[in-house]
Symmetry: C2
Subunit: 507 residues, 2 copies
């Protein structure tokens, strides 16, 4: 008889890793044959998580079973997310066994059943999220618990601290480190490169990490990538910021808040956006980036994330309070969130708007410049380089003098070299079928139109608006121009536009 | 200009349906190439749900994208769950578009944010679950809401009524219709065929629908399938019950509570088991099956679902109260839930135990017979064919006289013909390495051992216990016998046993 106390599951022959090119949206998925040892032991009808070990690394993935000849009996197919996390080479061998239930599910259940969690509890949950040990439905349960039984201020502070603790953290020698954030994305609201240029040109330190698009036609990192490299490691970021006072880099290349991507993905699917989670997500990244002072743009409008001035005020109060508990000075600005900003939608079209503002082109979009100046003004005042009330004048001066543009060029060079945004191979003007006035623009449809043209997968793709809400147009006058890599994508976008126009022209 | 009010998304060229043999555990998954129109419009990094229409039917599935040559550009690969729901033929053409957010997510959010739901609200959610319009994470949010903010009695009653309303429903001419249920599965606790035989042999009506295994080595439907056909449609069930007074059929073949499978699957993954949901799940199926009187077996033990007599009493009170609101007379029996019942684990091994009891074999497992008689006794008393306190004697008499066996044979014949449980191609005795006493048996490990031998996928597979907890054994004496289709499966099971024995022999 063997010893009944030994609890280790069986560890059968190793299996060959196969990369199957499956994009599973952040969920690590492994596919094995229905007749493999794991599918036999767990049953192919039960949702099972497996642990895959190869080359000294280990990941947890959701198991799906496949019949027939797609895989050989001793192969295991990995989704791209699983493949990247495991970091193995094609054909490498792996050991596979059923994964134990993640320990932190006890804590998720505690919260679900009305208990409170402290920083250590949140950190345990975050580590399991980060390592893929919690499944998407388990993460959904955690997020739902925080919606049904909202985190109080102490819990929100604990969650924020935990999010900082499980990621990497930057430190700077400057006593004050500036940062900015925008809560709810409006298409084209690409103020960051302009704000960073103005603030750094004024002698303040602003090391900005930005995200790529998840469902939008462009994230700040996508737009910035058309102008300079953005995938920098921590030493490279440090060199850029020490030389130029600022940067605009992709935050995903450093691990400032590694569990947050999973949360964002699933919050979007279950369409909840609990305030405690939002506050922790925003502030943890700022603290991890080493910021001391942050200005937060809260666009308010019917299709923005925040829909009323009252909601904006409540959110601002929470952000300020929790920020203060983490030693972060937070200033919130409620801004107009009714329509798109600037003209371009998509990485390169938005980058051209940014360049036009920084290069003081006569036809640069005024709304984008004004929004960037308003945010930069507060940072200049908070940072002590402008007296209260004088920030806007100084910010305009940095723009008008060309100092902001010179600083932006220097930052791009330090990041690896300024470049021109790519031009699309194909463009197509959509014109007004009759004269009239441009109706309210639907941000959601406009974003989808730009995505059908190929943004952000193609950095050149998207659209450029030729009109704004309320403009008077004549028959045949251009409304917007589509940019795409191929005629086929133009056709996709036109087909969508013909059925679901983002705006109309009223007689 | 087209009319801006038209909201229909684009409807591009049809795509060819490809069956990919993927077992995705109840989640309908569709795989398209990263360069298809839907992946372009939605972005391959966002979790997207799509609507697939073919041959007049329509399903909603989760979209995953695949790179490279696995699919042609105009093909869409469907998981088995998606394939079955759509009911299409291989190679059929389908129209594919992004699915709108399910309307009932508004109700899920209402519950999450502290609101109450009524029967119509629950029905809307259930219809979306059933149609696959809610994703697994969205279902997890709904179930989490019910754990964090528990359903009160009125909500539980509303949910139960809604579960009945969205499914099919049986009606019987008999004034009293009996039913039974067991809350927490113990391996081998296969009382149902025996109870049905005794109760029907006593002149009562008991149309029993049972489930297949999800994570256990056998469900009642799997076990019964080794003795007679169990996949009967509603008219066939009616014919059997009208002729014989009882049946034991697979509930999945009729749609009595079609959303429940999805709930069970996800509750298991997030490891919550909210009482309101459990009560609604159990009682809705009984009401839908047309029952008027139901006896519910609540096994209580350290590895059973219910762990204390207090918890059993609270659950019994809720079941009785909500049952009463739906016109269902509920009687709960707390039973011993410490260890496995009978000898066999797996469809055919359990069926042989059932046959042994019904055929009055001298070596029939006494515990199985006693548990079945206790449940049948209450039904006989409730049904008015035995006076209070006389039910057990009558039940034993039905067994001893052979009436129950005769009735069971008649039911099997009516369902399509009595058959012998299949014998496994391979068997292997595991013997004691030394003399001693059998320790406590771990139900979970025992179940996994039977599954590694091939149960329930192979109906013949599983194991037969030769000893019980506390038995004295000599060296070399058989402990249990494995049954499998091949030597390989025997080896899998032995490997697991050698590392994780379900019990030991103490000196």
């Amino acid at each position: 008889m063997t010893d009944p106390a030994r609890a280790t599951p069986p560890d059968p022959a190793p299996m060959r890793l196969v990369r199957i090119g499956l994009q599973s949206q952040g969920e690590a998925i492994a596919i094995m044959r229905t007749d493999c040892h794991v599918c036999r032991s767990e049953g192919v009808h039960a949702r099972t998580r497996i642990e895959i070990r190869s080359g000294g690394r280990s990941i947890t993935a959701r198991l799906m079973a496949v019949e027939g000849s797609f895989l050989n009996p001793h192969e295991i197919g990995l989704s791209e997310d699983a493949w990247t996390r495991l970091g193995a080479d094609a054909g490498a061998m792996a050991r596979v066994r059923p994964a134990p239930q993640a320990d932190s599910m006890t804590l998720v259940r505690r919260k679900l059943y009305g208990g409170r969690l402290d920083e250590a509890d949140f950190a345990a949950i975050l580590r399991d999220v980060q390592a893929g040990r919690l499944s998407d439905t388990q993460i959904a349960a955690f997020l739902s618990a925080g919606a049904a039984l909202p985190l109080d201020d102490a819990e929100t502070t604990g969650l924020t601290r935990a999010m900082v603790a499980v990621g990497d953290r930057l430190a700077w020698t400057a006593p004050r480190v500036m940062d900015k954030h925008c809560v709810g994305g409006l298409p084209g609201n690409r103020t960051t490169p302009i704000v960073v240029a103005i603030v750094a040109a004024s002698g303040l330190v602003i090391p900005k990490t930005s995200s790529r698009a998840i469902t939008s036609p462009a994230g700040t990192a996508d737009t910035m990538e058309t102008l300079a490299p953005v995938t920098l490691d921590l030493p490279a970021i440090r060199r850029v910021v020490e030389a130029e006072g600022g940067c605009v880099v992709w935050g995903g290349a450093v691990r400032l808040s590694p569990a947050d991507d999973a949360f964002v993905r699933i919050e979007r699917e279950i369409d909840i956006d609990a305030e405690g989670q939002l506050v922790a997500s925003v502030l943890s990244k700022k603290v991890a980036a080493g910021a001391t002072d942050v200005v937060i743009d809260i666009p308010v409008g019917p299709t923005a994330k925040v829909r009323s001035p009252e909601a904006a005020a409540a959110l601002a109060a929470r952000l300020t309070l929790v920020g203060s508990a983490l030693g972060l000075n937070v200033t919130c600005l409620a801004t107009d969130g009714t329509g798109p900003v600037g003209r371009g939608i998509g990485p390169a079209p938005e980058a051209r708007d940014v360049l036009a503002v920084l290069q003081r082109h006569p036809d640069a979009p005024a709304d984008l410049a004004e929004r960037a100046v308003a945010l930069a003004a507060r940072l200049l005042e908070i940072g002590g380089v402008a007296a209260a009330g004088d920030g806007a004048a100084l910010a305009w001066q940095r723009l008008e003098s060309g100092d902001a543009w010179a600083k932006f060029v220097a930052i791009c060079e330090a990041q690896g070299g300024l470049r021109q945004p790519p031009e699309a191979a194909e463009t197509h003007d959509v014109t007004a079928a009759h004269a009239g006035r441009v109706s309210v623009i639907d941000n959601r449809r406009l974003a989808r139109l730009a995505k059908l043209a190929g943004a952000p997968g193609s950095l050149a793709a998207g659209l450029t608006l030729a009109v704004r809400e309320g403009d008077r147009v004549e028959k045949g006058q251009p409304l917007f121009c589509l940019h795409a890599d191929s005629r086929g994508e133009i056709a996709y976008a036109l087909d969508y536009w013909s059925r679901s126009p983002a705006f109309g022209v009223a007689d």
